[in-house]
């Protein structure tokens, strides 16, 4: 029985994205304190933990939105955290997709506008961008809603638009932070079915932050964030059983 509560050590096999012993504080309040996580290409990993454990901060550091105070973030074998803000922003546009609990769509724009937006920002031609956006409407069960303003949609419809917008540029990595947090059970299941199904179809890697075990069950494995550190429960189980 060895150190059953030891935090997860970085994997020896290099992942698509990795946090290595990272620290991050909001002022004097520590949020991450030596967090390490490695996610392999094509994996769907749930990051779980109680409120305030640091799981969303970890996602923000992995995505290059926050630069950790200490430690390293690696993406595709290169340091991410030492890149300039401009380079990190560019990477988020080209390689990463994001789905949050709410507030990510532009309510004045239509469904098609919102889905096409990442492509337009990536300098894809307008006609091509809208053609590609249109292909996502039936895939997400949004037929006939392309010209509807997103402010007029139900929560489940809006979240499916957000998912289409996150995936339309075929990101290598999808970051989802409580993507069903504002939805009822059945609508949440529909969104998770689509998220996992589309990510598998597109070959995207997914980092899914959630406190909800039913949502985490869509992932292939889970890790726990506690007191700013990452624990691997599966690893703990092996150690305890020994």
């Amino acid at each position: 029985m060895t150190s059953p509560n030891s935090p997860q050590a970085p994997r020896t096999r290099s992942g698509l994205i990795e946090a290595r012993d990272i620290y991050f504080s909001f002022g004097h309040t520590p949020a991450l304190a030596g967090a390490s996580l490695s996610v392999a290409s094509g994996e769907i990993v749930a990051v779980m933990g109680p409120s305030g454990s640091g799981k969303s901060t970890l996602l923000h550091c992995l995505a290059g939105i926050f630069a950790p105070d200490r430690g390293e973030v690696w993406y595709e074998g290169e340091r991410l955290d030492t890149r300039s803000d401009t380079r990190r922003t560019e990477l988020r546009r080209t390689d990463f997709g994001f789905v949050f609990q709410f507030g990510q769509l532009v309510p004045e724009l239509t469904v098609a506008d919102n889905i096409a937006l990442p492509l337009l920002l990536n300098k894809v031609g307008r006609k091509d961008a809208y053609a590609r956006a249109d292909t996502w409407l039936p895939r997400m069960g949004l037929d006939g809603l392309g010209s509807r303003r997103t402010g007029e949609l139900s929560g489940g419809q809006a979240q499916r638009v957000a998912l289409a917008r996150a995936l339309v540029a075929r990101p290598r990595l999808l970051f989802a932070d409580e993507p069903t947090g504002s939805l009822d059970t059945l609508t949440g299941e529909m969104v998770m079915d689509l998220l996992v199904g589309m990510a598998r179809e597109e070959g995207s890697t997914v980092v899914l932050v959630t406190h909800d075990a039913r949502v985490a069950a869509y992932a292939e494995r889970e890790v726990m964030v506690r007191d700013g550190k990452v624990f691997n429960p599966a690893q703990t189980q092996v150690e305890v059983a020994q």
């Binding site: 509560n5 985490a216 726990m224 429960p233 703990t236 305890v240």
Partner: protein, 179 residues
């Protein structure tokens, strides 16, 4: 049913804390685990006899004193190993596990075992089962989906209990050790 499974291990756990008589074991069992449903004396002695027969405990000579039986029971190495294996091995994730999980946590705290790690292991086992049921839901017929839902909601309730208990471990440990 779950109680039948739990009682032998619970008695082993109480004996690991200290050698004891059947009468005292029943009293401690009722205090910690009975929760309004006392363990019958007959079940205590029948369980102790089976444990003695299987070499998990030894029973000494009859001692004078109050109560129907003053044999002093002592856990053996084999009994201790069996208890350890039961405590550290996550239970098969299925609905209505509370009795077993409750007994494991209280015993682990009483015996200074890593209760938090046991809860983590159980959480992981539950999530693994939830992944299997979720996959059934994604690919199965509606009847299968409904059955999977039933399992998922109950496992989720267990997980809430696991998380809440994990958050209360320090307070629980103080209480159990002070008892």
């Amino acid at each position: 049913m779950l109680r039948c499974v739990t009682v032998p291990y619970t008695l082993l756990g109480l004996l690991e804390r200290e050698p004891s008589h059947g009468y005292d074991l029943k009293r401690d069992y009722d205090a910690f685990f009975g929760r309004g449903k006392a363990l019958p004396f007959g079940q205590v002695y029948a369980t102790l006899s089976r444990l003695a027969r299987d070499g998990k405990v030894t029973d000494g000579d009859l001692e004078p004193g109050a109560g129907p039986d003053r044999k002093r029971y002592v856990i053996t190495e084999s009994g201790s190993r069996e208890l350890d294996a039961w405590l550290s091995q996550p239970s098969e994730p299925e609905p209505h596990l509370q009795t077993v999980l409750f007994a494991k946590v209280v015993l682990a705290l009483m015996l200074d075992r890593p209760a938090g790690a046991y809860l983590d292991a159980q959480r992981s086992a539950h999530l693994r089962r939830m992944r299997e049921l979720t996959e059934v839901k994604r690919t199965g017929a509606l009847m299968d989906v409904m059955l999977a839902d039933y399992g998922l909601f109950h496992l989720e309730a267990d997980l809430h209990w696991i998380d809440t208990t994990a958050a209360r471990l320090s307070a629980l440990a103080e209480m159990v050790r002070a008892s």
